[in-house]
């Protein structure tokens, strides 16, 4: 079914990792996404993506494995000085998917982190809803990254995922501290439990992914990109879990965690930035701009990282909407390629990021492809030129 070509690469990877033939040739095929050499490009990635959703489990698995090697090859290159076999390659070689390593801690409303472990792998649900929501949310996030991108956890090397619930009393926030996720219960006036929204859990975990890949500085435009990437992947994680297409998804971030008296539907709207709420308890109307013409220069919010993220959020939505299907089919792949692109600097601007998404769309699908054109059009539409 998949033609065998590129023997040189096959030999290289077989020697290096002693993989069975099956996996060696899959690696060889996928070199097309890395090298753009037509001799390696027998099956275009977009076709592989369709095959990955085939009813035939054998076909589906083969296509998924092939697509996954984009990430795996990069990892292999990064570890060429080591004899250790990356966890992804071990999993592929063994024909098994890696399992998440989740630990949920009840912080008992303390202000500093308390390692009071209440649920880990293999244990049944507990009476505490927040614990189970965090556990399931981390699982859904892990599944998404593995199934769609063959990414093995936050660091792509099986990093354990730790989350703390019931942080402080009435704490109106959730965050990623660089190592673990922390969730407040909300004070019931503005917010309810932050574990109640899968996209929020995906958002926080994606901060870890971004930190491991692009490490975008949390200030100004690079900070807004960092925030937007968390919203983009958080939303895709929710859409994937709910089996929503780009057309049926709500594109809202944090729907369901606003208290019932708040006049609003969510924290942010990716599809229509600036329309998520209008309530004096939240400081008035949703301030997110939808276009660079309305980019907000401010010293608040680390230079408006949660405000100006509306612009790249809308760009992603526009790409996904133009391409149709599921957001992770093509738009998500382009964004994932971009955050893993070594050209993406920690101080990237919207223009830098937009240019790289266009470049990566071209690498994946061709520089004159509808995908590359959709990316270019989307950034133009939100006023980002490159």
């Amino acid at each position: 079914m998949f033609p065998l070509i590129g023997q040189g690469h096959k030999k290289y990877y077989r020697k290096r990792y002693s993989l069975p033939d099956t996996y060696s040739y899959i690696i060889t095929i996928d070199m097309c996404t890395q090298q753009r050499n037509p001799i390696y490009c027998i099956i275009p990635p977009h076709l592989l993506r369709h095959l990955a959703q085939s009813e035939d489990p054998k076909l589906r698995e083969l296509a998924l494995r092939t697509l996954s090697v984009d990430a795996t090859v990069r990892l292999a290159r990064a570890t060429t000085s080591s004899d250790s076999v990356p966890a992804n390659l071990q999993a592929l070689a063994a024909g098994t998917a890696p399992a998440p390593k989740r630990s949920i801690y009840d912080n008992q409303h303390q202000a500093s982190l308390v390692r009071n472990l209440v649920r880990t792998e293999g244990q049944p649900p507990v009476a505490d809803q927040a614990v189970n929501q965090a556990f399931d949310g981390l699982g859904a996030t892990f599944d998404f990254y593995w199934t769609i991108f063959r990414r093995n956890s936050i660091d792509n090397a099986g990093l354990p995922m730790d989350a703390y619930v019931h942080f402080q009393t009435g704490y109106d926030n959730a965050f990623w501290d660089g190592h673990e996720m922390v969730f407040g219960d909300g004070n019931g006036i503005i917010f309810t439990e932050f574990t109640g929204a899968l996209d929020v859990i995906g958002h926080e975990l994606t901060h870890g992914v971004t930190g491991n890949e692009a490490n975008l500085k949390y200030l100004g435009q690079s900070g807004a990109l960092n925030e937007s990437i968390s919203d983009v992947f958080g939303s895709m994680i929710k859409q994937y879990a709910l089996k929503q297409t780009t057309a049926t998804a709500d594109w809202l971030i944090g729907k369901g965690i606003l208290a019932k008296d708040i006049n609003g539907v969510a924290l942010r709207s990716m599809k229509a930035p600036g329309t998520a709420y209008d309530d004096p308890k939240l400081g008035g109307k949703d301030p997110q701009p939808a276009n660079m013409a309305n980019y907000l220069q401010t010293t608040q919010d680390n230079g408006g990282v949660h405000i100006n993220s509306g612009i790249p959020n809308l760009a992603f939505y526009l790409v996904a909407a133009a391409l149709g299907g599921n957001s992770w089919d093509e738009a998500g792949v382009i964004w994932y390629d971009t955050i893993r692109d070594k050209s993406l600097t920690s101080t990237a601007t919207f223009s830098d990021f937009g240019r790289l998404t266009w470049k990566n769309a071209g690498h994946r699908y061709g520089s004159t492809s509808p995908q590359a054109q959709a990316v270019k059009d989307a950034w133009n539409q939100v006023g980002v030129v490159f």
Partner: protein, 101 residues
């Protein structure tokens, strides 16, 4: 003596939450003034010249709190985040917020 308190950051931008609050010690009751002095001493405000880095590397959505004091020609300030290990810093921040007019 004037104290100012502000915070920034979080998963979501709330303009209300980022408004700076201030208090003047002359406006406080004797008991509150004594409490304030105790909190200032416990927090270390004014004892360290440097400001703590407001954003942890690789983090996202953490809040940063800032308390500043001015007393005649002297001034000092401090910043800390949600996982600050000295609870007196947050207690001083909360005191200023609660007593601000």
């Amino acid at each position: 003596m004037t104290l100012r308190a502000s915070k920034t950051g979080g998963l979501f931008f709330n303009a209300n939450a980022e408004v700076e609050s201030s208090i003047h010690d002359v406006d406080l009751s004797v008991a509150d003034k004594a409490t304030l002095e105790g909190l200032i001493a416990a927090s270390g405000l004014g004892q360290n010249a440097s400001i703590v880095s407001p954003t942890r590397p690789g983090s996202g959505d953490m809040r940063t709190y800032r308390v500043a004091v001015e007393d005649g020609s002297h001034s000092a300030d401090m910043s800390f985040d949600d996982l600050e290990s000295n609870p007196a810093k947050k207690a001083l921040f909360d005191f200023v917020k609660q007593h601000a007019r």
